[in-house]
């Protein structure tokens, strides 16, 4: 059976095509003003990689904040449900999923069957999401990837007091003026976001294995801070930003 999952997120649309429980295509596009058009673009990319045409897809399910706007979808699943399903599919030992995307951070407690038992969402403040690190990288005038790597060479912990992305940017500027090494600033930023995420995830309880998904899982500085804060090694799958779309594709397949 060939199915597809669309994750229509706040910043990007991700599409996964699944054939007999094997991923054969992925596509991604920036979420523009026209969500449907963005989803179609991502879908076309996934079809191209899978060397398939739209008519070959038997069923499509959608997730993400814009899931009801997703084209082709006849089934829907919430982001939390899709994350749990996708993460469990990739690693059945996973009991906690941390999803950090562009504008939201989520903590999900999973059952031994891969069902979401409880969840916590940081939804009103960018301080626990990818947008926060992007803003801080801009303040340091560094590309995001470079900014993230800098944290790995820091040996000094500097607390950041600001709770808000805007004020945190001012705090970073103050640190720059105080001639604080950039690697220490980078670590401070990543420790700050990791602290917020950990505090949120503790509400649902942290049980191993812990999987980190979402686009921010590519941020090595954040992963480092998260591991240190949790005192464990989180599992980061390949293509962490596609796990929600994978969960949707599994839903379409009736899994």
């Amino acid at each position: 059976m060939i199915t597809a999952g669309i994750d229509l997120g706040a910043k990007t649309v991700k599409v996964v095509i699944l054939k007999d429980e094997k991923v054969i295509g992925r596509g991604i596009a920036v979420t523009g003003l026209d969500q449907k058009e963005s989803a179609e673009k991502a879908f076309a990319g996934a079809l191209q990689e899978a060397k398939l045409e739209l008519k070959d897809i038997e069923k499509v399910a959608a997730t993400g904040v814009g899931r009801t706007e997703a084209p082709y979808a006849t089934a829907h699943i919430t982001e939390v449900g899709a994350d749990a399903k996708g993460a469990f599919f990739l690693n059945p030992a996973v009991r906690t999923v941390i999803d950090v995307g562009g504008e939201e951070g989520r903590g999900i407690k999973c059952s031994a069957e891969g069902r979401a038992l409880d969840f916590a969402i940081n939804e009103k403040c960018a301080a626990g999401a990818g947008a926060f690190t992007e803003a801080m990288a801009r303040a340091l005038e560094r590309p995001l990837v470079e900014f993230a790597k800098l944290a790995l060479s820091s040996t000094k912990s500097i607390p950041m007091n600001a709770q808000c992305a805007v004020f945190a940017e001012s705090e970073v500027v103050s640190l720059i003026h105080a001639k604080t090494p950039h690697e220490d600033i980078s670590r401070a930023v990543h420790d700050s976001i990791a602290d917020r995420i950990i505090s949120m995830v503790r509400r649902v309880g942290i049980e191993k294995e812990v999987m980190l998904i979402g686009g921010v899982a590519y941020n090595v500085g954040f992963v480092n801070s998260l591991n240190r804060g949790l005192n464990l090694e989180v599992v980061v799958p390949d293509h962490p930003e596609y796990v929600g779309a994978l969960g949707a594709a599994l839903t379409a397949a009736g899994k």
Binding site: G81, R115, A116, K124
Partner: protein, 436 residues
């Protein structure tokens, strides 16, 4: 797919009467002066039987229900909030207080016309805001003000004669205050009658809400929000007491005939704190999943009076007449009223998160709830106090919990889209799909 079970349902017969009584209450207050009467304003927790004893033409405007009515009308609420913020008041203060103050500042009554200035303020301060609320107003409006300090351990936890005396003494003083302010004399017979009425009204509300332990629930919480209000307007008023007698009979009849509030009831929730008044439609959204919200410690216990035993079992407290309490003097009446007031479950919310958790778990058991939906209410520090501890305790007791952020009085703190998304996620986790 198995067929969905459907219960019989029908509208409440006394619904229109409830609406008329509420409208009359606000109209009576506005028109009191033109009819030679008196107006007073204070909190819903104020001991309203005291002004009641000064004549049937003394009309109340209790502040929290009035502020909730403002919140229900966001356009009006925004004007109130803007006026207050323009004067430099912070928006993280009590949302009810801000709405009420704003209404005074813009000099508009939510029910039409200019804001009707009271002759005096009477308040009972049991949270950090209550006393200040009317202190500020008394300065703005140049209106005399008397506050009765309540802050103490509730009697269902621990009775103590000195603590009772502390309140009774203040009640005596408040009578003197009203006599001096208005030139009227306290009618002790009317005071005694009002105390009996108050106890009957608040006992009846407890009994009405107890009936929601039945499946199907005869009342849904959105409807209960419109009905519980009389316990917060003027508990001593006979017409409100009589209305609850009627509502109690009707609710008992609904239970006897298996009449449901929600025809498709298949899952029972409890809530917490005041709701975001501008978004009560969220309760209707829940119904699409077959979910009925049965009530909460707030709904049943803000004014409903209960006996709470050592195991936290909740039983409606029989009213004073039914208990054989004979009131002959002013002292008898005040003492009985103070004792009665201290038995509200609501005090748990303000004073001890652990007590509140125990009451919530007990509620969930007695009302046969499957889960809880808790409002992280940015508009009320008191009812939100320890709410995350309550969440943890409920989860530990085996009840799934959904939390959402909002504000009872300020719709700017509530994100409807995200709240609905949270509900969808919660329902999905519980295995509940929309029925329609």
């Amino acid at each position: 797919m198995s067929e969905i079970k459907r219960y019989k349902t029908e509208p409440l017969k006394c619904w229109d009467k409830a609406k008329e009584l509420r409208s009359k209450y606000y109209r009576d207050y506005a028109e009191a002066k033109s009819k030679g009467g008196l107006r007073w304003s204070g909190g819903a927790e104020a001991i309203d039987v005291i002004p009641y004893a000064f004549g049937e033409d003394v009309h109340a405007l209790t502040a929290e229900p009035y502020a909730a009515a403002i919140a229900f009308d966001p356009e009006f609420a925004h004007k109130c909030e803007a006026a207050l913020e323009a004067k430099g008041w912070a928006r993280d203060m009590c949302a009810y207080m801000r709405n009420y103050w704003g209404s005074v500042l813009i000099n508009k009554y939510a029910f039409g016309g200019e804001f009707p200035k009271p002759d005096f303020h009477l308040q009972s301060g049991f949270c950090c805001t209550h006393a200040k609320w009317f202190q500020v107003l008394s300065l703005w409006e140049d209106v005399p003000y008397f506050n009765i300090d309540i802050g103490q351990i509730p009697f269902w936890k621990e009775e103590h004669p000195n603590r009772l005396q502390y309140i009774v003494d203040q009640m005596h003083d408040s009578i003197e205050f009203i006599e001096k302010t208005t030139g009227r004399k306290c009618d002790d017979e009317r005071l005694i009658e009002g105390v009996y009425n108050d106890s009957r009204t608040t006992s009846l509300w407890a009994k009405i809400t107890e009936l929601n332990q039945n499946t199907p629930a005869p009342l849904d919480e959105k409807t209960m929000y419109s009905l519980y209000v009389f316990t917060t307007l003027d508990r001593a008023k006979k017409e409100f007491m009589d209305f609850y007698e009627e509502l109690y009979d009707e609710t008992k009849d609904r239970v006897a005939r298996g009449i449901a509030a929600l025809a498709t009831e298949r899952f029972r929730l409890m809530s917490d704190s005041q709701p975001p008044w501008a978004f009560l439609r969220v309760w209707r959204y829940l119904e699409q999943f077959g979910v009925v919200s049965t009530g909460s410690i707030y709904t049943i216990g803000l004014e409903g009076v209960w006996d709470i035993d050592d195991n936290w079992n909740l039983t409606p407290r029989e009213d004073l007449r039914s208990r054989g309490v004979v009131l002959k003097t002013r002292e008898d009446a005040l003492r009985a009223m103070a004792d009665w007031h201290l038995r509200r479950p609501i005090y748990a919310m303000f004073y001890n998160a652990d007590w509140k958790s125990k009451l919530m778990i007990q509620y969930a058991k007695q009302w046969h709830c499957d889960a809880a939906m808790l409002h992280l209410n940015r508009g009320c520090e008191g009812t939100s106090l320890g709410i995350m501890e309550n969440r943890a305790a409920l989860i530990k007791a085996g009840f799934p919990v959904l939390t959402y952020e909002g504000n009872m009085g300020d719709d700017r703190d509530f994100d409807e889209g995200r709240t609905v998304a949270r509900i969808d996620t919660f329902m999905e986790g519980l295995g509940l799909k929309k029925l329609t």
